[in-house]
């Protein structure tokens, strides 16, 4: 019996520049484009409908957006992997790079900055300078206190990372819609989940 193996199946090598060029290529050639305004307005109508349904109980709206995002994330990751053919990341630094340069680029055509690393390198922040979800949005007074308008993004990240065996907490720290200086999403890695092995093998 003989076996053959391969290195990374994607052209994305370790260097920063090539991941960027690679994502650019995936976005240009392998992604169907839609009108961003249609997307923004669709998301707006979802949030507004949820606010009505939950009688402006914004904690519940946040939770609902998060769980909708989670359900999207667990499916979106497959789409992402099929398009990019990237292997698992060997460090959180690599993960953060793939998220900002590749995932956000491919799905939303933005490249947020990564920063604010914790000292033990288990959490980082994503700074969304442009956020296509919240274009045209101004929060009314009552919502500005509690509503995290783009909370679906946290759910998507949570779900997608979980599917590649990374158990993370993802939450909003600040949002320009609330009058903050920056829009900051925090990602904290709790643990790497173990791959399953068949029963009776351990």
């Amino acid at each position: 019996m003989s076996a053959s193996t391969s290195g990374t199946s994607a052209p994305a090598a370790a260097s920063r520049k090539s991941l960027k060029a690679f994502s650019e290529d995936v976005w240009k050639n392998k992604t169907a484009k839609i009108n961003a305004e249609l997307f923004t307005l669709t998301y707006g109508s979802i949030v507004s409908q949820l606010c009505t349904d939950y009688e402006r109980d914004f904690t519940r709206v946040n939770n609902q957006l998060y769980s909708m995002g989670y359900n999207i994330g667990v499916r979106l990751i497959e789409d992402f992997l099929a398009r990019t053919a990237l292997p698992r990341c060997d460090s959180l630094a690599k993960t953060s790079e793939v998220i900002s340069k590749c995932a956000f680029k491919v799905f939303l055509n933005v490249t947020p900055q990564i920063g604010n690393w914790s000292s033990n390198k288990d959490s980082f922040s994503i700074f969304l300078e442009e956020n296509p979800l919240s274009d045209f949005v101004e929060l009314p007074m009552d919502a500005a206190r509690e509503l995290w308008y783009s909370n679906i993004v946290c759910g998507v990240l949570k779900g997608a990372l979980e599917m590649v065996q990374m158990d993370c907490d993802v939450w909003f720290v600040s949002d320009v819609l609330k009058g903050d200086q920056l829009t900051e999403v925090r990602v904290k890695l709790n643990r790497i989940l173990k791959d399953e092995i068949p029963a009776g093998e351990d």
Binding site: A3, S4, T5, R75, I77, E78, P87, R88, E196
Partner: protein, 158 residues
């Protein structure tokens, strides 16, 4: 040149799809999601699992080292492992050297479009703890999926 069978395993070590062709002359011959193939599926899983862990150990700290093909005296197994833990495996005769494009198409254009983008289909086929770790028996039964697999792989079986 011939393709003998096609298998999908999920991250719970379960076989979630199998298709085996028996007659070269007949695209429709053979079995789909057959109970009789359960043991074969387990053996195939074990073979890929072992060789995969060997190849990853031998790669050391370097870049990922995923198994691509395994050739025996009689057949060749082509393997695609995704970061999300899905395995796509095609068994072919020895003349087929590289089917990685075919596997990528099965994943990106067929599995994604008919299972992942289909919100009425589950993507996690284990519904409880008791169905994880290779003990589940649920299969992909989406009509569109089955049809597109037949259309795509049928012409390649002989």
């Amino acid at each position: 040149m011939a393709i003998y069978s096609f298998w999908i395993f999920d991250k719970h070590c379960n076989c979630i799809f199998d298709r085996e062709w028996t007659l070269k002359s007949n695209h429709a011959s053979g079995t789909i999601n057959s109970k009789l193939n359960e043991d074969t599926a387990k053996l195939l899983y074990g073979m890929v699992f072992s060789l995969r862990s060997i190849s990853q150990k031998l790669a050391g700290q370097g870049p990922h080292n995923e198994i691509r093909t395994i050739a025996t005296g009689k057949y060749r197994a082509h393997v695609l492992c995704t970061a999300s833990g899905l395995w796509f495996i095609l068994l072919s005769d020895l003349k087929r050297e590289n089917l990685s494009e075919v596997l990528r198409y099965l994943y990106g254009e067929i599995y994604i479009k008919t299972v992942v983008h289909n919100w009425l289909s589950p993507i996690d086929f284990a519904e409880s703890e008791a169905e994880k770790r290779g003990r589940g028996t649920r299969k992909i039964r989406n009509r569109n999926f089955l049809q597109r697999v037949e259309e795509f792989l049928g012409p390649m079986i002989n």
